[in-house]
């Protein structure tokens, strides 16, 4: 239990520190590297909660796929001279105030409602014992959620075709 607590705080520091660095760095490459740190912290949080399949998906897809895509685009559009410009827009003060208000609301709700989250005792009868996380995900994904799964694959096909159409000079 103590190990879980310590690991949670380590991963939380990774996630939040990486996120803050992501939105404050001047160079887009540095932002991307910080985002990788943040995403790895999120993957650690998944592992901490016995979501092993999502841990693997997070590493392979986010850190391995999306971030490489980001890095490619950063190199492609050559942001070196853009890094010398002003980094924050003119509305940053209003944005910070609005975000602080939303944060105060969320914090207040979490503070007032923290007793309602003691759900450990009222847990519904669990999943069949002996099944690993990947088996459970597969059983649910390919029976109950088969139609959303197929729709998601069509969405990905549309996204692939769309991004090629937009990034290509002449079709």
């Amino acid at each position: 239990m103590l190990t879980d607590t310590i690991l949670f705080y380590i991963f939380a520091v990774l996630v939040l520190g990486g996120a803050i660095l992501t939105i404050t760095r001047r160079s887009a490459i540095h932002s991307a590297i910080s985002l990788i740190v943040s995403l790895l912290g999120v993957a650690g949080l998944y592992l901490l909660q016995q979501a092993e399949f999502l841990f693997a998906v997070q590493i392979v897809l986010y850190v391995g796929g999306i971030m490489v895509l980001f890095l490619f685009v950063i190199m492609l559009v050559n942001l070196d001279d853009q890094a010398k410009l002003r980094q924050f827009n003119k509305q940053w003060a209003i944005a910070l105030v609005a975000v602080a208000l939303v944060g105060a609301q969320i914090g207040w709700f979490l503070y007032k409602g923290k007793d309602t989250f003691r759900i450990a005792d009222v847990v519904a009868p669990g999943t069949p014992a002996g099944l690993g996380n990947v088996e459970q995900v597969a059983n649910s994904l390919f029976s109950e959620y088969l139609l959303p799964f197929e729709i998601a694959s069509i969405l990905l096909l549309v996204a692939v075709v769309g991004s090629v159409v937009m990034a290509k000079k002449r079709i």
Partner: protein
């Protein structure tokens, strides 16, 4: 030290969401705005996994998979748009792209 409860995860996820929102609202570089959107989607996923673990219910993880799918599609299309935009306007600063303003 207190054991970790879902409230801890919710607070972490809210903080990540707010950081991502600040990034979207204040940065000028479109690439970093897209990265902030990834941060926001990750905050959603942390919430889903926290409740999936607390309730011992696998459906939260399924929804997290769909969120990741959407994040991938969004990143691919967004970066495609960004390349097309850079080819036409030679800028990636969000507030310099004001063709629709009068």
């Amino acid at each position: 030290m207190h054991p970790i409860t879902p409230v801890h995860y919710l607070a972490l996820s809210a903080a990540l969401l707010l950081i991502g929102t600040v990034g979207v609202l204040t940065r000028r570089n479109i690439v970093i705005i897209l990265m902030s959107i990834e941060l926001i989607l990750n905050a959603v996923n942390i919430n889903l996994i926290a409740f999936s673990h607390a309730l011992q219910n696998i459906n939260g993880q399924i929804f997290a998979i769909f969120v990741i799918t959407d994040a991938v599609a969004e990143a691919a299309v967004g970066l495609g748009i960004l390349i097309a935009l850079f080819r036409n306007k030679e800028t990636v600063q969000a507030d310099e792209i004001d063709l629709l303003k009068w």
